[in-house]
Amino acid sequence: MLSIVYFAWVREMIGRDGEALPRPAPETTIADVISALAARGDGYAAALGDQQRLRAALDQHFTPLDHAIGDAQELALFPPVTGG
C-alpha cells in the first residue's frame, strides 16, 4: 500500500487527512497518482485538478511532481507552504 496524506485546503476539500492506496508501480510519477485521485471527481477533483497549485513530499522530502514514487511509503500532497 502507499500511504497518502493531505494538508491545508487539499485536506479540507477532500474531506479527509489521508488514505491508503494499492501500491502503484515504482515508475508511476506523483503527477500520475494525483491525476488518478482527481478523476474520482467531487472534492478530489476540486483539490487536485490543478497540479500547478500543488506541492508534494515523498517520505518527508519535498519532491517535484514529475518524479517517480519508487519505493516510497508516504506521499504527502499540499499547497505551497506558508509558515515562518
Binding site: A8, Q60, F62, A76, F78, V81, T82, G83
Partner: protein, 147 residues
C-alpha cells in the same frame, strides 16, 4: 549548540537569547515573527505535517551550520491557534562573527518560509476563514541563498 522545537505553547525569548549569549561567541542575532492583527483577524491557525516538520527544520539548521561558522542556533516554530500579538516563530544564532550571526539568521527565517511544512489559515471575527497564499517573493528570497 543546535536547538529545534515545534510546539503549541509560547516560548521564552529572553531565556533563548541568554542561552545563545552564554556560548561566548560575542554576537547573537535573532528574528521573532508575531501574528499581525487588523482586518478583523481573530486567530491564525498553523497546520503542520508532524512527521516531516522537525526533520525538515533540522535539515535547514544543518544547512546553516555548513554555510556559516556558528556556535549556536535555536529555531522554534509554533503550531495550532494563535491570536494577534502571539509569537509564531523564533530564530536565534550565535557566532564569533556578527556578519555570520546576522546572515544566518536571515537565511534561516527565509528558508523556513519556503521549506518548513506549515500552512497558515486566517480565522476572522465574522466567521470567515481563508488559507494564506504563498508569496512568490518568499520563494525568490529563499532561492537567492543558492547563488
Amino acid at each position: 549548540m543546535k536547538r529545534v522545537l515545534v510546539q503549541t505553547e509560547d516560548f521564552d525569548v529572553a531565556g533563548e537569547l541568554a542561552t545563545l549569549e552564554a556560548l561566548g561567541g560575542g554576537g547573537v542575532a535573532s528574528f521573532t515573527g508575531v501574528v499581525r492583527g487588523g482586518n478583523g483577524l481573530a486567530a491564525l491557525e498553523l497546520e503542520q505535517y508532524p512527521a516531516m516538520t522537525r526533520l525538515q527544520m533540522e535539515r535547514i539548521v544543518m544547512d546553516a551550520g555548513e554555510r556559516w561558522p556558528l556556535i549556536g542556533m535555536t529555531v522554534i516554530h509554533r503550531h495550532g491557534y494563535l491570536t494577534p500579538g502571539a509569537r509564531i516563530v523564533f530564530v536565534g544564532t550565535a557566532s564569533r562573527h556578527r556578519t555570520a550571526a546576522l546572515e544566518s539568521c536571515a537565511f534561516l527565517i527565509d528558508w523556513l518560509k519556503v521549506h518548513a511544512p506549515f500552512w497558515k489559515k486566517e480565522h476572522f471575527a465574522d466567521g470567515n476563514t481563508q488559507w494564506v497564499a504563498s508569496r512568490s517573493e518568499d520563494d525568490a528570497r529563499a532561492h537567492g541563498w543558492n547563488g
